[in-house]
C-alpha cells in the first residue's frame, strides 16, 4: 500500500500528511506539474494555500496537471482524501459536492475540535465506530461547508456525511455541522479538520491516525 501526497505551490501540510501516511504505509510526494500518480494506491490532497488561493480557495489548483490525473483516478474508483485546502480543491474540481465558504465568524480559526463519526462503513473510517468522538485540530479561514438544502438531504440519505462537528464544536458555521463528506461512490472524501496533525501524543491527540489506518488496512470481514 502506497500513498501519494500532492504538493502544490502554496501547500504547507504535505510533509505532515506524508509523515502521517508513513506511520501506516509507504508514501511519497507527487508534484503538481507531474501529470501522473506514480502508481499510488491512494492520493492525499493536503492543506495549505494552493496557488495562493487566488480568486477562490482551491479554484486554481484544480487545473494543475496532477489534478487531471487525480480526477481520472477518482473516476476509476481510486481512493482520494482531501484535507482542508485539499477538500476545497476537490469541491472546486467537482469531485465532491458542495463548497467551502468563509467562516461565519470571519476569523481564521486554529483550535482543537471534537468530531463525531457519522458513517464508519467507509474505506476512510472503518477503523472507527459510529458515534466515536475524535479530537482533531482545525485551522482555516474558509471552512464553512455549504450545499443547497436538497443536496444536503441527498448527502444525508446516501450516508455521504462521514464526520460532523460534535454538538457545540462547529467552529465555522458549517451547515448541519458537516466536517467531512464523501462522493456518492464513497471513494473520494474531504474534511476540513487535519487528521495528519493528530497522529502523535506529542501534539495532544492521535485520533487522526484512524483515517490513515483505515486506508492502510483492509476492513475486517463482516
Amino acid at each position: 500500500m502506497r500513498f501519494g501526497v500532492v504538493r502544490f505551490p502554496g501547500s504547507c501540510d504535505e510533509v505532515d500528511a506524508l509523515q502521517a501516511c508513513r506511520r501506516f504505509a509507504d508514501a511519497e510526494l507527487l508534484w503538481h506539474g507531474d501529470p501522473e500518480l506514480r502508481g499510488a494506491d491512494a492520493v492525499v490532497v493536503p492543506g495549505g494555500f494552493s496557488y495562493g488561493d487566488y480568486l477562490r480557495v482551491g479554484a486554481i489548483a484544480r487545473f494543475s496537471p496532477v489534478m487531471e490525473a487525480v480526477a481520472k483516478f477518482a473516476a476509476a474508483g481510486g481512493t482520494v482524501l482531501g484535507i482542508c485546502n485539499g477538500f476545497q480543491v476537490l469541491c472546486e474540481a467537482g469531485l465532491l459536492p458542495g463548497a467551502l465558504l468563509p467562516n461565519s465568524g470571519r476569523r481564521f480559526l486554529a483550535r482543537q475540535v471534537d468530531l463525531e463519526v457519522v458513517n464508519a462503513d467507509t474505506r476512510f473510517t472503518h477503523e472507527a465506530g459510529v458515534g466515536d468522538r475524535l479530537s482533531i485540530p482545525v485551522k482555516h479561514g474558509a471552512g464553512r461547508y455549504y450545499a443547497p438544502e436538497e443536496m444536503l438531504d441527498e448527502l444525508d440519505a446516501h450516508g455521504q456525511i462521514i464526520l460532523r462537528y460534535a454538538p457545540g464544536h462547529n467552529p465555522n458555521g458549517s451547515l448541519r455541522d458537516i466536517a467531512g463528506v464523501s462522493n456518492r461512490e464513497g471513494n473520494v472524501f474531504g474534511l476540513m479538520p487535519h487528521p495528519e496533525h493528530a497522529v502523535d501524543p506529542l501534539t495532544g491527540s492521535r485520533d487522526g491516525g484512524l483515517i490513515f489506518a483505515s486506508l492502510a488496512r483492509e476492513p475486517a470481514a463482516a
Binding site: 480568486l55 479554484a59 458542495g98 463548497a99 465558504l101 461565519s104 465568524g105 470571519r106 455549504y146
Partner: protein, 88 residues
C-alpha cells in the same frame, strides 16, 4: 481587444460575513441608514472573443453553486482611456 467587466457576488440567501462586517462598520463612522451590504469581486479582462466570457465565468471566474455573475460591460477600449486601460 474588447474589454470585459464581470461582477461576481455571493448568491442571494448565502451568508456574506464580509458584507455584514462592512454593514456594521458604517454606522460607527456616522453613516446611518445603510442596509443589505454585500461584498463581491470585479474581474476585468481583455478578450479576443467576448462571446466566451460567460463560459469563463461558469468554469473559473465564479463558482455557480455559491456565486452569481453578471457581465456588466464589454467595450472596445481606447489606449488612452485612463482607468480602462490595461495595467502593464
Amino acid at each position: 481587444m474588447p474589454r470585459a467587466r464581470v461582477l461576481i457576488r455571493p448568491k442571494e440567501g448565502i451568508l456574506d460575513p464580509q458584507g455584514q462586517a462592512v454593514e456594521r462598520a458604517l454606522p460607527a463612522l456616522g453613516f446611518e441608514g445603510v442596509a443589505n451590504v454585500h461584498v463581491g469581486r470585479l474581474v476585468e479582462l481583455d478578450v479576443e472573443d467576448a462571446s466566451r466570457v460567460p463560459e469563463m465565468c461558469e468554469r473559473l471566474l465564479a463558482n455557480p453553486l455559491i456565486e452569481d455573475y453578471e457581465v456588466v460591460s464589454i467595450e472596445s477600449h481606447d489606449q488612452d482611456a485612463g482607468l480602462d486601460a490595461p495595467r502593464r
